[in-house]
């Protein structure tokens, strides 16, 4: 029995109480994931390859966007982005101009993100549709979760002589006109260097992840019609003569929570 003036911590269904270690005087805890309530916790990934050059990127940014993630308008729900993992592999031809050039890769927050936008390629070959990684059937980290609502796309692959599918966020297209706004500075940024005519170069790799908030750290909180893009931020690989290619893979772990029921006022509200 506990001494007078002390308390023991009991559980809900389980009486417990929690243990305190004899020597370290530390109380035993187990850390559980965020309570997603009636929504869920999700993961989605994909990859694409671009060969021989990139066409001009549409507004609101002139930098090629490699992935686009949007929290849609879903009343009372938000997205918590926990992890963004990307791998970029660059092959440059021996005759390329990218030797010792730095290629920054940035994660940019986007506000006023009303819808995803698919741009037709700027050359004569028609573009293929982007790959829709979410919402799709699945992506749940437990089958009985509600299906995800987040809007996550990446470009499709484009071989030599074919055009890329370019993606870009847009604001409301009718009635109220709103310009999507990218953050002035990146949430996170990495950089790799190009080398001509040698083996593949990793511009970005999985460890550490591009964005990774651990236990106790604030995730990237996306309210309705906000999101993020992964883009080159500055110099973009410019494939010169010869065969050059860029391979990108990306996956994202996120949670969808309902406001008011499972969030704390002032924290995730």
């Amino acid at each position: 029995m506990a001494l007078a003036g002390t308390i023991q911590i009991a559980g809900n269904a389980n009486a417990g109480p929690a243990e305190v270690e004899l020597n370290t005087l530390a109380e035993r805890w187990v850390v559980r994931p965020q309570d997603f309530g009636s929504l869920g916790s999700f993961s989605a990934g994909g990859s694409f390859t671009w060969v021989n050059g990139m066409t001009a990127q549409p507004t609101p940014t002139s930098n090629p966007i490699l992935a686009s993630f949007r929290c849609p308008y879903s009343p009372g729900a938000i997205c918590l982005v926990k992890k963004v993992v990307a791998t970029l592999i660059l092959f440059q031809a021996a005759t390329g101009t990218g030797a010792n050039v730095a290629y920054p890769l940035a994660l940019m927050r986007v506000d006023n993100f009303a819808t995803q936008y698919i741009n037709a390629a700027n050359n004569a070959v028609s573009a293929t549709l982007p790959q829709v990684l979410s919402p799709t059937p699945g992506q749940k980290l437990r089958s009985r979760m509600t299906a995800p609502t987040a809007d996550f796309i990446i470009p499709s692959s484009a071989g030599a002589g074919t055009s890329q599918t370019l993606i870009a966020p847009v604001g409301v297209t009718s009635g109220q006109v709103v310009t999507p706004t990218l953050s002035v500075t990146p949430i996170t940024q990495t950089v790799g260097f190009g080398v001509n005519g040698t083996g593949p170069i990793y511009l970005c790799n999985t460890d550490p992840p591009l964005f990774y908030q651990r236990a106790g750290e604030l995730p990237l909180i996306l309210d309705a019609e906000t999101g993020f893009v992964l883009q080159f931020n500055g110099t973009t690989p410019s494939f010169a003569t010869g065969l050059s290619s860029l391979v990108v893979s990306i996956f994202v772990h996120w949670e969808e929570l309902q406001l008011g029921t499972y969030t704390l006022p002032g924290l995730f509200s």
């Binding site: 023991q8 243990e19 035993r28 791998t87 799709t136 059937p137 992506q139 083996g199 999985t206 290619s245």
Partner: protein, 226 residues
Amino acid sequence: MAVQVVGNVNNSTAVEVELNTKAMRAVIRPDDYGSLGIYSIGATSGTIAAGLAAGSAIFSFRFPTGGTATLVNVKRVLMSAIGGATAFAAGTGKFELFAARSFSGSDTGQTDITPAAASATSKLRTSMATTSMVGTGDIRISSTNAVTAGTRSLDAQPLASLACVCSATTSVNMLGGAMVPLFDQRVGEFPLVCATNEGFVIQATVTATGTWVFSVSCTWEELAAY
């Protein structure tokens, strides 16, 4: 008036609060596996033959019905891959991890690495129960070619995707690191929770001509509830 928090069996031992930071000391314990357990397995393939079809299954994990556990929490899947003695046609490939649902029939062929019955294999503590994967569960890895699909439904998109290098030079690391996390859920993050007849599959797409070898390590919990 303050109270002190004391323990269960150690019911005269009060938890400490740090002098300067005023933080209460805590120790993080794993999920309570009860009478079940927490397991890990690692395996290396054989030399994968050239010309593997795109999107081939190279690793398969199926949690069956009929075992003691109700759920399997997949916490971590790590991979490494390296080109072999015959170089690839230069290019890139990918590895993708798909959730497999309605997994009523195990994949077949290649190398079965499912833990053997009544052995300490894969347990992170010998006193843990034999894994529910024993018997009708199935874990397998490619030896020279693709694993043959059983009865399962893969999600439309993978849970995770990694691009890899297929080099025209032999013996090149395909993933840019010795061991790369393909799925790695840490403290406070949601694992892949598999009910019975669920699991996951790793698929590979590589360029032609090359031979290669890969390894996979997987850690999972078997629980009655989560």
